[in-house]
């Protein structure tokens, strides 16, 4: 087995086994696993855009988390708006519409950011970091201006969100399973897009050598706009499908950003497989550490929030280029 797969699998197994021994019974072990996969998938939806954008464009988009937040707000508002409720009484169809709206808003805002703010700064990488950081702050402030600073929790349920099933004496929410399923489907879908389509080949080639791609007659800037737009739309999508659980609040912008940056680094900068594996790994590690840190004997909740950075450091000690990165 190649070392990157070996190390990834070893870490995954270690996290899961640790989680198993922490759990008093199979039911709560199942809850931990499901919570881990759920967090991992949401993480992936932020980290995938971050990673591909960074790999291709050398832009570390600090606003990626803000797009997740905007997605949550848009999805919440559309779903709970009295006007939309009157027009579309069926909450399932309305939720579907909310998600579509969130994706559309994320895509438009992402496209605008790349086209009008980032593009003039490609010669100045430091400025770009400052810019995306600033845009994240502006977006958070704008959201608080429009929706006030009070967090919203999701009140109008729909059938998927409502249902649960019993296993090993525990109740599992169907919606979490659906989110996990969507996450896995997107991992495969984006992977296929990168492997099989012309635009995917151009993106992978651009990650290696942008200048050469351009010298072949390909307008790399158009590819940048497209990738940035899709990356932001995917983050918004993440916020939209997370909102029925997490609600909508300004804090969402930073909830996943730091963890997603940790995922991109520990997965190996610019590696798609590394980002997918890293999201899964960190999601599970987070869930396990939340259980561990909450034990009365431990009682150190801070351990859970330290997990992304600790895992990143651990991986970098073993593989300095990240799990799937070029060994550097």
């Amino acid at each position: 087995m190649r070392p990157n797969i070996l190390v990834s699998v070893a870490l995954l197994v270690a996290v899961v086994v640790f989680g198993y021994f922490l759990s008093p019974d199979l039911g709560s072990f199942g809850i931990t696993l499901m919570s881990g996969l759920f967090q991992g998938m949401l993480l992936f939806l932020v980290a995938s855009g971050l990673s591909i954008i960074f790999g291709l464009m050398d832009v570390l988009n600090f606003a990626q988390g803000a797009y997740f937040m905007v997605g949550a707000y848009v999805s919440y508002s559309v779903h709970h708006s009295p006007d939309v409720m009157a027009a579309i009484p069926d909450p399932n169809i309305r939720f579907f519409l909310s998600v579509i709206s969130a994706v559309a808003v994320g895509a438009v805002l992402g496209g605008l950011l790349e086209r009008f703010l980032l593009r003039p700064l490609y010669a100045r990488p430091i400025f770009q970091i400052v810019l995306t950081f600033g845009v994240a702050i502006v977006m958070t402030e704008a959201v608080e201006f429009i929706w006030s600073t009070t967090p919203y929790s999701w009140t109008v349920l729909f059938s998927l969100r409502d249902q649960s099933f019993q296993l090993f004496g525990q109740s599992f929410g169907v919606y979490r399973l659906v989110v996990i399923g969507i996450g896995f489907a997107l991992i495969i879908l984006i992977g296929l897009l990168l492997q099989r389509t012309r635009i995917g080949i151009i993106i992978r080639a651009g990650v290696e050598d942008r200048e050469m791609v351009e010298a072949l007659g390909i307008n790399v800037r158009m590819v940048f706009t497209l990738v940035f737009t899709i990356g932001c739309a995917v983050a918004s999508f993440g916020g939209a499908i997370a909102a029925p659980f997490l609600g909508a609040s300004a804090g969402l912008a930073n909830l996943f950003l730091l963890s997603a940056i940790a995922v991109v680094v520990l997965g190996g900068m610019g590696s798609y497989a590394g980002t997918a594996m890293g999201s899964l790994l960190l999601g599970l590690a987070l869930a396990v550490m939340q259980v561990f840190a909450g034990k009365p004997q431990i009682g150190l909740p801070v351990l859970a929030s330290m997990t992304p950075m600790m895992l990143m450091i651990l991986v970098l000690l073993v593989r300095p280029g990240g799990l799937f990165g070029k060994g550097r």
């Binding site: 080949i201 290696e208 050598d209 200048e211 351009e214 010298a215 072949l216 007659g217």
Partner: protein, 237 residues
């Protein structure tokens, strides 16, 4: 030779990289159907000349014309689309892409690769059995062949090839020379080449670049006889 016959005219270009004045007046004139070579010592500005023509390091002044059309101010994808193929030094193939993907990405219209596959595999038979391998798994010579093959996928009328022989074994260099000679039957070629033996056997025209300026240009047959000139600018016997 009348200027109208030239496929590429480079007139007094000055190129800066950062604050460094790299090209301080380079002229190149290349007749259609010929093989031209840029000669000169390391760091003289040969590679920068090719990169300036491609629009990667645009000139600050001077003029570049391809088939009469001005290239100044165009970005490199636009330059390439006019029909110029670029094979950079160090064989800049995409190592993570398969050989097939490396060729496919060069298509400018869909079907380019299918149209040219016979020509490409005829010139470089080795590539045919390697199509499914990642470019990074190829030997140096195979990578160089792939880099040239990639430039042949679209209908390019001018190829800029930077140091094709660099780091390759003599047998491979022979193969490459054979291939370049054959493809020059269909397109014009501008080479940068340190290997004087290879350059002198391939090229019809030469331009010597010295300290960022084009110093001498002319017919390759004349240069081969002029040992003093070779000694002065190239330091090879």
């Amino acid at each position: 030779m009348a200027a109208s016959e030239a496929i590429l005219e480079v007139r007094d270009i000055h190129t800066f990289i950062g604050q460094f004045h790299i090209l301080e007046g380079v002229n190149v004139n290349l007749p259609r159907g010929s093989i031209g070579v840029l000669l000169g010592r390391n760091g003289a500005g040969k590679t920068t000349t090719l990169r300036t023509i491609m629009g990667i390091t645009p000139p600050r002044s001077g003029e570049i014309r391809f088939e009469g059309q001005r290239l100044n101010g165009m970005r490199s994808f636009g330059v390439a689309r006019l029909g110029i193929g670029y094979v950079p030094e160090h064989r800049a193939i995409f190592k993570g892409l398969t050989v097939r993907e490396n060729l496919h990405i060069a298509e400018r219209r869909s079907g380019d690769f299918a149209r040219k596959a016979d020509l490409i595999f005829d010139l470089f038979p080795d590539l045919k059995r390697l199509v499914h391998l990642p470019g990074g798994n190829l030997s140096g010579g195979q990578q160089q062949m792939l880099a040239i093959a990639r430039a042949l996928v679209p209908d390019n009328r001018l190829l800029l090839i930077d140091e094709p022989s660099e780091g390759l074994a003599p047998v491979i260099i022979e193969q490459l020379m054979h291939a370049i000679r054959r493809l020059s039957e269909q397109t014009t070629v501008l080479l940068v080449e340190q290997n004087f033996r290879m350059a002198s056997q391939l090229a019809d025209r030469y331009t010597i670049i010295d300290e960022g300026r084009s110093a001498v240009a002319g017919d390759m047959r004349d240069l081969v006889k002029d040992q003093a000139l070779i000694q002065r600018y190239l330091g090879v016997a």
